[in-house]
């Protein structure tokens, strides 16, 4: 059997782990071929890839959607071609109207930013800053749904009573990039403004902020820094005492689940149409459990 | 009598940064008159033409054409006002063919619809053949692009373009520089035809024989100034005289400041 896989992006740390999960599982099975393509963050390219898979006669398709609002057209394309489809990692917008031969294995994106920000809030309270604290927010690429969602999560959490002692000094984009985050942080530092926390949409930006702060001689014990993804770099930074919060998502598990669902759909077997995989909070207290997971 | 003057410049001046390429040129051209401009290389002849035809904007001075002061923004304005020019740089589009170049900017159309008017290729090709014949040039394939033409062929295309359309004033900047013996003779014929038709002409040329044959008057430029105005048809002026003015050996008294 041949399974076509369209990944949102290849050069993304987390999605790479997910992709490798699919690949390794398939390599271990007899007679299962996977063909993985890179949609390069382009929804239109992803739709075309699905059509190309259909033209090549694959048995099932796994899609890691570039954007979950674009899944209607993909569902339709696969349904028209009569090829089973499984969404992975991101919950499609049309989750409630998926046809019978489609399914999804995903996590709820709202959780990641919420877990991160709430933990930052708790840590600041524990440090005795409940009377008032200032934070900088680093956003991912503004056209990216995860960035928009996680930033909104930050706003939501900082709106609840328990955490509204935190005020956001400024929020800017560093486009997911460690380099841009370093420069952005240094620019913030050049204003001389005091602050207590940096909440970043991903770990790369959090690490960039940490590097900039360390270069300027700030004490990392005084500042709470949060990210998302639990990358190896982030875990190392946490072990070194620089990073305080990150959020783990079981990439390999999602990949395996998706492949399994796709194979079963292609054989006409029954599957659970909705599989949720929760995010997990990582802090210095439990970091050692995660170092071998991603 | 003023009615008689088609072009007049007063104190026309052009500086390029520190280079004073043209200074205080006072020049008149009567209707039907053919005037030659001569002078050393770099004396400011082409600069003079560029100021009149709006290729560049003058530093100061006035240009009066057909009785009215004019400020041409660009060469198209000048052409619309009735001045046809063969520039020294020819101004041809290298990747287009001969008819395209001849009719550039005033294409013949079969069906008018603003910029989307439909071209009449056949009519343009036919009229091109006629225009080229007048210059006597031989072009093996008029549908070949201009970049494939020899120096003289290009020059003939530029001349044909000017000669094809009626105008109130024709200006030619060294039209026969690259032409062969036969083609030069043909172009001189074109100029004589203009004379007979009473169309005025400014001819820039380094060729003494040609100028003596064709023109009524020679205006000499030196170091960016006019230094002589010689009525060759009525006075007894030789080539040696003209050369003396060009080189600076002589200057007319009324242009003493050019010395």
């Amino acid at each position: 059997e041949t399974i076509g896989v369209s990944m949102a992006l290849f050069d993304d740390n987390f999605l790479t782990v997910l992709r490798n999960g699919i690949q390794e599982l398939a390599d271990g099975m007899e007679g299962v071929d996977v063909q993985i393509e890179d949609a390069q963050n382009d929804v239109a390219k992803q739709l075309d890839q699905i059509n190309n898979f259909a033209a090549s006669g694959v048995d099932a398709i796994i899609v890691n959607p570039v954007d979950t609002s674009a899944t209607e057209a993909m569902t339709k394309a696969a349904a028209d071609a009569g090829v089973p489809l499984v969404y992975v990692n991101r919950q499609p917008i049309n989750v409630d109207t998926l046809p019978d031969n489609q399914a999804f294995v995903a996590s709820n994106e709202i959780e990641s930013g919420t877990l991160e920000t709430f933990e930052v809030c708790k840590m600041l309270r524990a440090m005795g800053k409940g009377g008032g604290a200032k934070a900088y927010v680093m956003m991912g690429e503004l056209s990216n749904q995860a960035a928009v969602q996680r930033t909104k999560d930050v706003e939501d959490i900082l709106g609840i009573d328990m955490c509204n002692f935190i005020t956001v000094v400024d929020q800017q984009t560093a486009n997911w990039s460690r380099d841009e985050a370093q420069d952005l942080m240094t620019n913030w530092l050049s204003t001389g403004e005091e602050f207590d926390a940096v909440i970043a949409n991903n770990d790369e930006m959090a690490i960039g902020a940490i590097q900039a702060m360390k270069a300027q001689g700030l004490d990392m014990a005084e500042i709470v820094v949060g990210g998302v993804d639990a990358t190896q770099d982030a875990l190392a930074a946490m072990q070194a005492g620089d990073l305080d919060v990150t959020v783990f998502q079981n990439a390999a598990g999602q990949g395996g689940g998706a492949l399994d669902a796709a194979l079963r759909l292609s054989r006409g077997e029954d599957v659970d149409q909705k599989v949720y995989i929760p995010f997990e909070l990582v802090t210095p207290a439990n970091v050692d459990e995660y170092t071998s997971k991603n | 009598m003023t009615n008689d003057i088609i072009l007049e410049t007063r104190n026309l001046t052009k500086h390029y940064g520190g280079v004073h390429a043209l200074q205080g040129a006072n020049f008149t051209l009567r209707k039907g008159e053919h005037v030659a401009i001569m002078g050393d290389n770099g004396a400011g002849k082409s600069t003079f033409v560029r100021q009149i035809t709006g290729v560049e904007q003058r530093t100061r001075g006035d240009v009066i054409f057909d009785g009215k002061p004019v400020f041409f923004e660009n060469p198209m304005d000048a052409r619309n006002a009735g001045i046809e020019t063969v520039f020294q740089t020819l101004a041809l589009a290298d990747q287009l063919d001969v008819p395209d170049n001849l009719f550039l900017g005033r294409e013949l159309v079969k069906f008018k619809f603003g910029p989307f008017s439909i071209l009449d290729y056949k009519a343009m090709r036919e009229r091109t053949m006629g225009a080229l014949e007048k210059t006597g040039v031989k072009i093996p394939n008029i549908r070949g692009t201009i970049e494939r033409m020899s120096g003289g062929q290009r020059q003939c295309v530029a001349i044909a373009r000017t000669a094809t359309f009626h105008s109130k004033l024709t200006i030619m900047d060294e039209p026969t520089a690259a032409l062969g013996v036969q083609e030069t003779a043909q172009v001189e014929n074109i100029i004589r035809t203009l004379k007979e038709a009473g169309e005025p002409l400014i001819l820039i040329s380094h060729n003494m024989r040609q100028v003596m044959d064709l023109c009524d008057r020679i205006v000499v430029f030196r170091r960016g100034r006019i230094c002589a105005n010689l009525d060759i048809k009525n006075n007894d002026i030789t080539g040696e005289d003209v050369v003396a003015y060009i080189t600076g050996a002589k200057t007319q008294p009324e242009y003493a400041d050019a010395a």
């Binding site: 075309d48 409630d96 | 287009l96």
Partner: protein, 364 residues
Amino acid sequence: MSETSHGIGGLSFDAKKRAWPNEMNVFIALIAIIVIFEILGQVLPYMKGQSLLFDFNTNRDGTILNMVRLKIIILQVSIIGIIAIGSTQVIISGGIDLSPGSIVGLTAMVAMSFAQTALVNGNPNPKAIFGEAWMDLPVIVPIVVAIAVGTFAGLVNGLLVAYTRIPPFIATLGMMVAARGAAKWWSKGQPISFPTEPFGAIGNGMSGWSPVVIFIGLAILFHFILKYTVYGKHTYAIGSNEDAARMSGIKVDRHKVLVYTIAGILAGLSALVLASKNLTAQAGMGVMYELDAIAMTVIGGVSLAGGRGSIVGTVLGALIFGVIISGFTYLRLDAYYQEMVKGIIIVAAVVLDQWRRQRAAARA
């Protein structure tokens, strides 16, 4: 032939030796690439004798052609192809346009905002941008909006290029950055989805062929405009020698404004098809489309120096892209190699064209 030879005693000219049209090279490259894929399909053991364009186990439909693949080959380049039509005329005029990708993003966002449906599966539209009154509008509204946005962006490009005389590369680079910013700002990065059915038909109608029909229709229209109208002639003339065009009395500045505006309109139309086909609009749509469009154009034989090229070439260039993309999936080429090979093929196609031209010029 009397019309091609002139004057007494001219050079001997052999009119039979007609120049081989440049588009022919591109066509040969296209065929060569298809043939290579077909051969690989027969030769590579894991391909089990599959074919790119043909379908021998005719269980899917009646024809011997693999219609699904034929369709996707051209469908997947139709949207960028529409942009490439605009780029073709911009490049022929001696300019370049880096902004259409971003204009696509912006136009898709704005147009989709006016194409939303009020109810999705009976629930209110979760992605609503404006209030109820702005939903379920007739499909002409988003179409007009898309054309207006494209026109505006193209007009700004054109005015900048024509009247400030800054290089088109910079004017359109500025537009590229600014329009992408505007696309992100429009709904604060949120995607906009759930269009009305008639809107969805623009990019999905005619059993999915409608983007192809729109692309080919526009290509034919612009082929005609470039070859047979004054607009086309002036576009070539300006690209060939701008000074000469100006001295010949062409209103160069006004013409350039028109050229860039038309490119903007085509980007707007492309956005319309894209948003409709995907049933969504996102701020990140169209990233890098300008480079693909330029590559199609140049592969099709348009000279980046201006003055040379044709729409036919560009369409063939687009088809080469389509065949490559589908061919890779068909060969199951590892995604890691796809980009590397794509880069090499882009270069190879142009090298081939260049080489054929040089040989043609050198040949007796």
